[in-house]
């Protein structure tokens, strides 16, 4: 009997979607493990209800104004303390900047094994089994654990959010916050929205519109941004575009950028270098728009349009707009 926990991520006073994805997976794993689903909430107690509605049967709440912002050491101390005390079978978090920073510290401290950026998790023979891409998606691995406590971060968008049960009332356990002064020193002072960052984060987007060298000029990216705005998509770029200084590195998709797995990936003017294909080939549907019919991108695209992106992309924006107007 093993409990499965999720470390909740709170941003701007709300629980992040990746946390709800993890809870859905945790509930499934707890079912197989014959245990309960738990959640650790470092944040306002009021959010315990949301976690309960999404499957947490027990929520450990550390609600303290000093921990309003993230701090690796302080947060790791709280989560590690709870893990050491209650010994859950597995602890999950979203593979976001938060989970990626926090869980390695917690795992190091509690003697747990950790698999990061997983695309799926299973419970087999009393142990956690993690599926995770390596080499930015050029290969996939199955990871097993040798430790009694097992930890994993789950890539955003990899699993669905099951329907909520708003009536669920989780047991809440208040956690006394005892954090030493040194740990409090490294709490984040402020969070500044980046002017360059798109409204939707690439790794969390369900649709991505990307542009490559075929865009010819940074100013031409306006048509990609217009299409993205119409589709509710994030904007990405190839390495060539980032290296040319047309877009900051935070837009880069590929082996030395971000690995993404949206529902729809629309690549315009991207030829499809091996490093780029690695970073986006786990997308559910790939659309390629390129004037070169021999571009490697067409070999992985579900739908291809051979043609002039400067005509096709604006037409796509226009037709999407018409469809939306029709409702």
């Amino acid at each position: 009997m093993s409990d499965i926990w999720v470390v909740a991520e709170v941003r701007d006073g709300a629980v992040k979607r990746t946390t709800l994805e993890c809870l859905g997976k945790a509930r499934e794993l707890a079912g197989a493990a014959g245990g309960k689903t738990g959640a650790v909430l470092i944040g306002p107690e009021g959010l315990a209800k949301t976690l309960g509605a999404h499957g947490a049967q027990r929520v450990f709440v550390a609600d303290d104004p000093r921990l309003k912002n993230y701090g690796a050491e302080a947060y790791a101390a709280i989560v590690s303390g709870l893990v050491a005390q209650h010994k859950p079978g597995a602890v999950l978090a979203g593979a976001t900047s938060y989970g990626k920073d926090l869980l390695p510290r917690v795992a190091a401290r509690t003697g747990a094994g950790l698999a990061t950026d997983c695309t799926d998790l299973q419970w087999k023979d009393g142990k956690l089994v993690a599926l995770r891409p390596v080499y930015a998606g050029k290969a996939r691995t199955t990871v097993t654990f040798t430790t009694p406590i097992q930890m994993a971060t789950l890539r955003p968008n990899a699993v669905p959010v099951p329907p909520a049960n708003p009536g669920a009332a989780p047991e809440t356990v208040k956690v006394p916050v005892q954090v030493d002064d040194n740990a409090l020193k490294t709490i984040v002072k402020e969070t500044a929205k980046t002017a360059t960052g798109g409204a939707i984060e690439l790794t969390e987007a369900s649709i991505i519109c990307s542009g490559g060298r075929g865009m010819k000029d940074p100013a031409n990216f306006k048509i990609i941004h217009d299409l993205a705005a119409e589709l509710g998509a994030a904007v990405g770029a190839s390495r060539a575009v980032v290296d040319a200084g047309w877009k900051p590195h935070s837009f880069q998709v590929g082996q030395t950028g971000k690995t993404v797995s949206p529902n729809i990936y629309i690549a315009s003017g991207i030829s499809g270098a091996i490093q780029h294909l690695a970073g986006m080939s786990s997308s559910k549907c790939i659309v390629a728009i390129n004037k070169d019919p021999n571009a490697p991108i067409f070999k992985v695209a579900d739908y291809g349009i051979v043609g002039d992106l400067f005509q096709i992309v604006p037409a796509l924006t226009e037709e999407a707009r018409k469809l939306k107007a029709k409702g």
Partner: protein, 264 residues
């Protein structure tokens, strides 16, 4: 400013990954080995700090004999000395961090830098785990580093989704470096004279037993049970069209009705 940079030797990004015929691992046949790109940027950041503030840069890496070449490259870039933990271990990233922490402990250091992730296993665990094992603060995915004149603290920014977190940390600390840290997008290339000079710089080889680690401390916490290439994507449909409007309409219809992934 004394900086330790932990680096990993990885297959070049051009590598076409093949699975080893006997083991769930990469087939190293024909692979070109390089310093992981984010680790290269960490070396560059350390060298720039040294140029500005003085001090030393020590590079540390673990792996088989071939890793020596990677360390010599780092020395040729400008690092002062290198430590080679000469072990060909198949262990998880947290265990690697534990071993690195032991090797680092005795080195002069105000700061430890690592790349935000190695581009082979993409695990990204070593930075924060090193912080834990060394008992110092860690900042993951750092984009800005400004060390105070007294070297006792640093102002740091780290990248999060759509924003940056700003904090001030006491030193020593561990930072994992994102591309673009302090505007660094490219590492320097070693010049020929520096490659020659690097040959006589100190490179110390160590074994696990030299580090005083017990076998249970280096037991792997996770194991790769299987490795496979992703199923090849089927070549899809090329959309036939007369006008851009027609192409756009056809694509949107396919995304809505065939792929069923677009809801507008």
């Amino acid at each position: 400013m004394n900086t330790v940079v932990c680096i990993k030797q990885v297959p070049d990004t051009e590598t076409k990954v093949k699975v080893h015929p006997q083991r769930p691992a990469l087939d190293p046949e024909g692979v070109k080995w390089v310093i992981s790109p984010y680790d290269e940027l960490a070396i560059e950041a350390a060298l720039r700090m040294k140029e500005k503030m003085g001090g030393t840069v020590t590079v540390v890496s673990m792996g088989p004999q071939r890793v020596e070449e990677t360390l010599r490259t780092a020395l040729a870039m400008g690092a002062d000395s290198a430590v080679h933990i000469k072990e060909d271990l198949d262990v998880d990233a947290i265990t690697v961090a534990r071993i690195l922490a032991k090797a680092i402990q005795g080195l002069p250091r105000d700061l430890v830098l690592v790349g935000k992730q190695a581009i082979d296993d993409d695990s990204g665990q070593v930075g924060p785990a090193l912080g834990e094992f060394l008992g110092v603060p860690s900042v993951g995915i750092a984009t800005k580093l400004e060390v105070a004149a007294d070297k006792k603290s640093a102002k740091v920014s780290r990248q999060i989704e759509g924003a940056e977190e700003n904090l001030e940390i006491p030193l020593p600390a561990v930072l994992s470096v994102q591309k673009g840290l302090n505007g660094i997008h490219e590492p320097r290339y070693p010049t020929l004279p520096n490659i020659m000079k690097a040959k006589s710089k100190p490179l110390k080889a160590q074994a696990l037993k030299d580090l005083g680690l017990k076998p249970e401390e280096t037991a792997p916490r996770t194991q790769v049970a299987e490795m496979a290439l992703p199923p090849p994507r089927k070549a899809g449909k090329l959309i036939e069209y007369e006008t851009p409007q027609e192409a756009a309409q056809k694509l949107l219809t396919l995304l809505r009705e065939e792929a069923k992934l677009l809801q507008i």
